[in-house]
Assembly symmetry: C2
Homo-oligomer: 441 residues x 2
């Protein structure tokens, strides 16, 4: 599958390789070699005898696959995990989440919340996440320091928050952040206008113009609920997706998050413009938002990636739960047990996430030449036995706690479930301090 290198940094001998691309492939008896931040070879294990590797990992009971891409979330909100549950959407937001955020969110809150989130994500197989939250500079800093890959989508609102006064300041601060990070190997920056109901059409137009000029992605909450769509139709005489299209915001660099209320004309518009959908099945169920018609979207070649949403609406950042939820909900929603197969759900959490960011040429599958973002999942336990099909076991019988190793950009971050370079007792102490501070309100 590639010429044999003589010297490599890392050589991995897994029991199985699930490369995700080509779809459905499962390799046995193959090894993977890494040099720097790249995958340089996928080759039969017997051909690796003469390779000199600085580090060798022999994992005969593990599946090696591309790291999971969590395509939507608000990492800092991990500090509000379980703070308020089982409430209708608006009382949940207006009486619990927003007041808690108004009182507590600060640079320190974001710093500690993001660190907790990244630890949770690393321990459950995520190697890249997309984030939308205030203080995106802090999120970027923490992510970079921890060696985590991240797409920062800096927020834009009409109203002030602790981070910016108005849309112009959100945009200028966000673009300045992008300039500072333009040489980062791990962090990319895109626009994150929050939603059509929190950002005026005037400000959305500014985003559209700048995004086109600078060739930057746009990540936006869209059609999360039917109520939101109906309200827009009443106020503006058109569906939010049509507003975005009219403003020039719908294109191959647009990531539309949630999309539960979609008619055939909306799906055709997504297909025609090449916009991407980010599906958050658990959040959509927990908040009773609705069901994204994923099977219909995939049938029209609309790219659908997966996200956990924030921990306050899930309440975890474990992509294994999301993959499983996507497959199960997809079958129920279509009344077809063959809809959203295990492979499709796995693709949504890997290559499709990379496609949504326009970086599927270098991420999202285990292929020679791509960036070395990989995870190893232990299949030796009774939960995944017998093992007829590793892809089925990954999707329907694994829960994230079997992830033992994680490499990002060629670096080993998780080894035998231990996180290298993270002081866990210190982190847990910081989180306890937040728990007391927020929980005592």
């Amino acid at each position: 599958m590639s010429s044999i290198p003589e010297f490599v940094d890392t050589l991995i001998h897994p029991g199985w390789i699930v490369p995700v691309v080509p779809e459905g492939d499962v390799l046995t008896g193959f090894s993977v070699a890494l040099v720097g931040n790249k995958i340089v070879a996928v080759l039969p294990t017997e051909e690796t005898t003469y390779i000199n590797a600085k580090k060798v990992h022999t994992l005969p009971e593990h599946v090696l696959l591309p790291g999971l891409i969590n395509a939507h979330g608000h990492a800092a909100m991990s500090l509000l995990r379980g703070y308020a549950d089982d409430l209708p959407l608006m009382p949940w937001l207006e009486q619990h989440i927003w007041p808690a955020e108004a009182k507590h969110v600060s640079e320190e809150f974001v710093r500690d919340g993001v660190e907790l989130a990244i630890v949770e994500m690393l321990r459950s197989g995520t190697t890249s996440f997309t984030d939308m939250y205030i203080y995106p500079d802090i999120t970027a800093e923490v992510s970079q320091a921890m060696g985590m890959r991240c797409q920062i989508t800096f927020p834009v609102f009409d109203f002030p928050t602790a981070w910016a006064r108005d849309a112009d300041e959100y945009i200028s601060k966000g673009l300045a952040l992008r300039d500072r990070l333009k040489h980062s190997e791990l962090i990319s920056v895109a626009f994150g206008p929050h939603a059509p109901y929190t950002v005026s059409q005037n400000n959305l137009s500014k985003v559209a113009t700048l995004a086109a000029q600078l060739d930057i992605g746009v990540h936006i909450h869209l059609h999360e609920t039917t109520g939101e769509v109906l309200q827009a139709v009443e106020q503006h005489g058109e569906r939010p997706i049509d507003t975005l299209h009219r403003l020039g915001l719908l294109g191959p660099k647009t990531q539309c998050v949630h999309m539960t209320d979609l008619g055939n004309q909306d799906i055709a518009l997504l297909a025609a413009t090449g916009a991407h959908v980010i599906h958050c099945p658990t959040s959509n169920m927990k908040l009773a938002s609705g069901s994204c018609p994923v099977a219909k979207l995939l049938a029209q070649d609309v790219n659908v990636a997966l996200g956990t949403d924030g921990a306050a609406a899930n309440n975890n950042l474990n992509m294994f739960g999301e993959i499983r939820a996507a497959a199960l909900l997809g079958k129920l929603h279509t009344q077809d047990a063959s809809a959203i197969s295990a492979q499709q759900a796995l693709s949504m959490s890997t290559i499709n996430g990379a496609r949504a960011q326009g970086i599927d040429d270098c991420l999202g599958s285990l292929e020679v030449g791509k960036l070395a973002d990989l995870i190893a999942v232990d299949m030796s336990g009774p939960e995944t036995a017998p093992l007829y099909n590793p892809i089925s076991q990954l999707v329907y019988a694994s829960n994230g706690s079997q992830v033992t190793h994680s490499w990002i950009n060629g670096k080993l971050l998780l080894e035998n479930r231990a996180l290298n370079n993270i002081d866990m007792p210190q982190l847990m102490q910081k989180i306890q301090k937040w728990q007391h501070r927020i929980g005592s309100q």
Copy 2:
């Protein structure tokens, strides 16, 4: 909460107690004392100083709660986990599951499959399960030997299987098994007529008569899909639930499994007769069967318990996944984020499971005088931090891998995630043998 005993077998000092009854209660600073197979005291930890305990467990970072009751499954089918997925129901059954069963199911298959299933259930917090499968004598024997609590519901079909020739033989063998086990502390036996479409009305009548005479429970698949209900209406001119009622099979000892196709009149009939519903949300989603209207049932005081169904249709036996699925699906189905709260989902997996068997006077909650079926769940990890509400973390942020201890009938079976008295390497070898045998077909 009780007089202080002087000598006890086990004394547990957990960080939190979630007794399930009363609903919503969370105790901190309390301890639990066990004598023999019973809970003898729940008392402030400071009052335990003078208690002499043979074994003391200090678990300050753990929640102690009643063991989970898996109210429906086919344990032996764990050997077919992941054997065939993502197929429509009938091709899945007719072209994959049934042929594999016809070829491979034997006493040995059931023995090894049930052992694997019990190991998986113990490691994810289940302390009691209901089973329906052929060779129920083997299932009972394995469960008893492993110290697991089990409700055996012996199958009745019109057609022959490897275990029995016809309905009369199923019934006579099942009742003989019940006689042999009548003094068992762990195993109870009930009728398991498979479904109204696999057991004739004549044979269902026999079950009804004997169940009434002997005062035994009846466990039956019912209204799993709309197609099944429509076919019955075409063939018999009535809905299956009405057939059962007419035959005298619907009462406070009846456990109706699945129940996705339910009108208001069906719900009223369940409420009037006191029959129980066993909800299997993951199986219903994975096989695209439909959604059980749980919120409506609970509103009419119909008891609803939870089950995983067999591992071929899930593909795991982890009740934490089921609890979470029940809460999420309940919200989506009603379009109400406050429907099926975390506490309700937890009750469905504990006390409601005991109620369905008519043993809620002695099982299903952590209360003095009840049987000592308990689990401890570790809340010290980043996945469950911060911890504002242990019930929310159990339902929305735990995945079963945090279960560290499990007591059944007062005996410690799982300790720091290790299973006492189970030879895991030997079990995994047996499962590998089945994997090769079945997978090579």
